[in-house]
């Protein structure tokens, strides 16, 4: 945990005025001369400077001449002062730059023809621009010689995706600085000094952290190159296309490098957007493109004939869908058809899907939350309200108190995780984490409070009650607070959760005294069966501490277009305002019964739902009760599944339709802030696949009900839906806690948490070779003590048993996790971990034992 460090709050914005190349410029005090010059559009060359890192002035390339200063100054580390007169292009500066390049090239191998950075190398460019064609350093260059095991170029692989060539390194330290300052990772270092300084992996380690791909991207030379890209194509033969990451709810901005002649994407880099990502990509965002080109993409439609899925044409498939859906409609009614859709699909697909289901077919059996355990027919007012609060990612930066509740930020929202680190390292933030298990962000937290699994709303209620009891905030609803959590005092509630009452008081005081608070809740809450009491507790906390008036709060949506799905009305029972809009657009809105994913499955079992269309979702793998989901879907008369790959769900389908990925058509996505962003088409659809919107429109056409009369209308209708009133009312009800325990049996003493591995998201990323080279199989994460108690060592096979299932996984021992809890990633089809889960449990419990061979 971080030690208390007194930090200055950002001072009031004073300004200074200086002259650069004869032009006057006024900038905030504290701005560097370099940034002042750039604000005028004057390009000062740099190697070591990075806009999101602290200046070190190690490369000396940014020399400028400043009047009254005796020598050239490094502009990246010189603060702009009032009245300064700066020259960025004088003869002296040119001479200085020339000398710097000559010096940098002293030990540089100049192996440009065989170097993969060629064409996008800053050293190559700046040598071309500033240097002379000769060197006075005529002696033997220092050379790091490798044993030849990788290649003859002295390359050495230091991580699953990172290749190092120390001879080309110019010691700008950008990689080491980014790794430590921005990512908080310590698997890369700069060793030795002088001529033989080297960047290398930390002793005994690999560079494999979840942000490691950035290191190759920010390296200005060919010292660090990415394994996925190197020697496959030269950069000048590629074309770049703007895209966004389809796996993060932040909607990280990316650039895809593609070759038109081969219809292939070769890599993804950042397209810096300071409001969202600061130019950093998590490895998931960076290597997601490989999913597009995976070998086993579905290339044609399939139709089940005599029990077997056989290849078919689109016409055959669509005709069959139209016929079977019409039959069900005619014989049993439209309420016997349902639809499940993935919140990773774009707006046009989601809206079209909604219109197809509700308007064309006329059913209210529509849901996009197919991975979350759900109680049938829960109104979910608090949950919906907490999920649709306005959040601004960049507002995290200057928050002075940040609370993370029920979220493993690194795994769920890697870019928000980096923002929180930034707020700590560069801002004045005090960070509090309240989670059922310890997470990676703990090293920047002032307090990390770990409560017993399942006690989420009691823990949060205890914070509120502490604040009221200690007079930190005033409230006349103390009794209702006590009732809601079923405890008489804050300290009793805290102790029941396994928390220190003093810690809760410290956090309550910090929130009450703060100027700007950011409160973020995440997937651990969304995955809970009892979301409503937890969401109510979050809303109450917000009201007590006035968080939304002096900051922001909310439950973060999990997927790249969850927010869009909400606004476009894909929830089973959308808020009244959304329903009203849909009614006015369509002239009608079905008044049939509404069903969630879970209640649809219940109805399938009763044969009350006979036909189902699934698009992009894989409930059989990800619904938190695998057997239940599978059995339900098996009962269907007719199942249509559209996906990129053959999945556990497509196996059951009567018609399988190949879906195009986000890179194969232009689509809009709404990120967790409500920001609408576009991922442009990078390549043509793979095989015979089609974009989701085209598929739903084709199905509607076959049902003789065209979704839109013209292309424009689709856009107009979606735009209308996305005009959202941001002031979402926060309900103020108290929802009683259902208690943390199930009808518990001592046989299964360990709580099981299921989530994403830091290198994976959901069920597609397993198709990316670069991501599986980091983590390629499921594991069981457990504490050293728990492992010792069962005589389990790192890598041992462990049997995990729940009342309904059994899985064997290798052990991974982690200091981060408590003794009464284990973590398992859900991303690997080979390890069906959802088969351990029971739909009706509050906390999943398991027992573990070592597999003895």
């Amino acid at each position: 945990m971080a030690e208390a460090v007194t930090k200055k709050a950002p001072s009031n914005k004073a300004t200074v005025t200086l002259t650069i190349d004869g032009r006057s410029v006024t900038v905030d005090k504290g701005t560097t001369v370099l940034e002042a010059a750039r604000s005028l559009g004057i390009h000062v060359p740099t190697f070591c400077w990075h806009p999101k890192l602290k200046s070190v002035g190690s490369c000396r390339m940014c020399y400028v001449e400043i009047e009254k200063m005796p020598k050239l100054q490094v502009s990246c580390a010189t603060e702009a002062m009032d009245g300064m007169v700066v020259a960025t292009d004088s003869d002296l500066v040119k001479q200085g730059r020339r000398a710097v390049i000559e010096f940098i090239l002293m030990n540089h191998p100049l192996d440009c023809p065989t170097c993969d950075q060629g064409g996008e190398c800053q050293l190559q460019d700046l040598t071309f621009a500033h240097a002379i064609d000769d060197s006075r350093f005529a002696f033997q260059k220092e050379r790091f010689v490798e044993d030849g095991s990788v290649s003859t170029f002295d390359d050495v692989q230091i991580g699953p995706e990172i290749m190092l060539n120390r001879n080309r390194c110019i010691q700008c330290y950008k990689c080491v600085r980014a790794n430590k300052e921005a990512f908080g990772e310590f698997d890369l270092g700069a060793f030795e000094r002088g001529n033989i300084t080297e960047i290398n992996a930390a002793p005994g380690r690999q560079v494999d952290n979840p942000f490691s791909g950035n290191l190759a991207e920010i390296c200005p030379v060919g010292a660090l190159t990415g394994m996925d890209w190197r020697y496959k194509i030269r950069v000048w033969l590629t074309k770049t296309v703007s895209s966004i990451c389809p796996f993060t709810a932040s909607g990280v901005n990316t650039l895809m490098y593609m070759d038109e002649t081969k219809n292939r994407i070769y890599r993804t880099t950042s397209r810096r957007n300071d409001e969202i990502d600061d130019g950093w990509l998590s490895n998931v965002s960076r290597y997601a493109y490989q999913v597009v080109h995976a070998d086993d993409r579905l290339l044609t439609p399939f139709i089940r004939r005599d029990g077997k899925q056989v290849e078919a044409t689109w016409d055959e498939a669509l005709d069959l869908i139209a016929k079977r859906l019409s039959d069900i409609q005619d014989q049993k009614g439209c309420v016997c058809i349902g639809g499940l859709v993935s919140p990773r699909l774009d707006n046009a697909t989601l809206y079209g899907f909604n219109k197809l289901m509700r308007h064309v077919i006329g059913t209210n059996n529509v849901d996009y939350r197919t991975e979350y355990r759900m109680l049938p027919q829960t109104p979910e007012d608090h949950y919906q309200a907490a999920c649709s609060q306005p959040i601004r990612i960049s507002d995290v930066d200057d928050s002075d108190v940040i609370v993370v509740f029920g979220s493993d930020m690194l795994k769920e929202h890697p870019n928000l995780y980096l923002r929180i680190r930034k707020a700590f390292n560069f801002g004045a933030a005090r960070i509090f984490i309240l989670n059922p298990y310890s997470t990676k962000a703990s090293d920047v937290a002032e307090l990390e409070m770990v409560y017993h699994a399942g006690m989420d709303e009691v823990a949060l209620g205890a914070v509120c009650l502490t604040a009221v009891e200690k007079g930190i905030v005033s409230s006349d609803e103390t009794d209702r607070l006590r009732e809601a959590i079923a405890f008489d005092s804050a300290s009793a509630a805290a102790l029941a959760c396994g928390l220190e009452p003093d810690h809760l008081e410290l956090m309550a005081r910090a929130m009450a005294e703060a100027r700007k608070v950011t409160f973020l809740a995440g997937e651990i809450i969304s995955r809970s069966r009892e979301r409503e009491p937890i969401a109510a507790a979050i809303c109450n906390l917000n009201r007590l501490f006035s968080i939304n008036t002096k900051g922001q709060f909310g439950i973060l949506p999990g997927h790249s277009n969850s927010r869009g799905a909400h606004h476009l009305g894909l929830a089973p029972d959308p808020p009244a305002s959304i329903k009203a809009k849909l009614r006015s657009l369509w002239g009608q809105y079905p008044d049939t019964e509404t069903n969630t994913t879970d209640s649809m499955m219940v109805q399938m079992r009763k044969e009350e739902i006979d036909g189902l269309i699934i698009m992009g979702a894989n409930p059989v793998m990800l619904y938190p009760d695998r057997a239940f989901a599978r059995e339900s879907l098996e009962k269907l008369d007719f199942l249509v599944v559209s996906d990129l790959f053959e999945t556990e769900t497509t196996e059951l389908a009567d018609v399988v339709l190949p879906l195009s990925s986000w890179a194969e058509y232009t689509g809009d996505y709404v990120n967790l802030e409500g920001r609408v962003q576009t991922a442009s088409k990078a390549i043509h659809p793979i095989g015979d696949s089609r974009p989701g919107y085209a598929i739903v429109e084709a199905i509607a056409d076959r049902l003789e009900n065209t979704l839109y009369t013209a292309e424009d209308y689709r856009r107009d209708e979606i735009d209308t839906m996305l005009e959202v009133d941001t002031a979402c009312p926060v309900p103020n009800l108290y929802v009683p806690s259902k208690g943390g325990q199930d009808e518990d049996d001592a046989e299964y003493p360990i709580a099981l948490m299921i989530g994403d591995d830091p290198h994976h998201r959901g069920h597609y990323t397993e198709k990316s070779a670069s991501l599986t080279s980091h983590v390629g199989e499921a594991y069981l994460e457990l504490s050293p003590d728990l492992a010792a108690g069962h005589e389990i060592k790192e890598g041992d096979s462990v049997r995990i048993e729940s009342p309904v299932g059994k899985v064997v996984l290798p052990a991974r021992i982690s200091e981060h996790i408590r003794n009464d809890i284990v973590f398992v990633p859900r991303n690997f089809p080979s390890a069906p971990v959802t088969s351990l889960l029971m739909r009706k449990r509050r906390i999943d419990r398991v027992r573990i034992s070592k597999v003895v061979r």
Binding site: F186, A202, P203
Partner: protein, 157 residues
């Protein structure tokens, strides 16, 4: 492996600094004095004690040529090869030492008496060329002076 006393001493020194990183060099010094050189294992041990990532300890240790990273002989000869010493013949002095000790730079004599390394500036430019042997400086060196010093050290051993 660090001895109990070394661990206690590192903890005592680390307690003096408000920034944990500041304890890296004092901790390395304690480890070096006990073991005679430094290695990756010691970096991770120190990392555990002062709670600083091991890589930052390794970075500091490798930056300072004064800490040997491999087992060394009884006398560690560290010859300065920076500018002032170089101008006054450090290179030929290093060559002479190699010839005399029959080892290359970075090696140890077979009797385990002498290890020869070159180091960055030791801050004694006014008496260049110079070298440090264990804790002592030997300055204004000539070949004759080197002969004397080596002879003296051999006798003392």
């Amino acid at each position: 492996m660090l001895a109990e006393e070394s661990i206690a001493l590192i903890k005592e020194k680390a307690a003096k600094y408000p920034e944990r990183k500041s304890a890296i060099l004092p901790a390395l010094t304690v480890a070096y004095r006990q073991v005679g050189h430094l290695n990756d294992e010691l970096y991770s041990e120190i990392s555990e004690i002062i709670r600083v990532p091991a890589v930052e300890i390794a970075e500091a240790a490798t930056f300072y040529t004064m800490f040997p990273k491999h087992p060394v002989g009884k006398y560690l000869i560290q010859v300065c090869h920076n500018i002032s010493c170089a101008l006054l013949g450090a290179d030929s002095l290093i060559g002479y030492l190699e010839e005399k000790l029959e080892i290359k730079k970075g090696e140890t004599t077979s009797d385990n008496l002498f290890t020869l390394v070159t180091v960055e500036c030791l801050g004694s430019c006014c008496t260049a060329p110079m070298m440090q042997i264990n804790q002592d400086y030997y300055e204004n060196l000539t070949r004759e002076r080197v002969d004397e010093i080596l002879e003296e050290l051999r006798t003392r051993a």
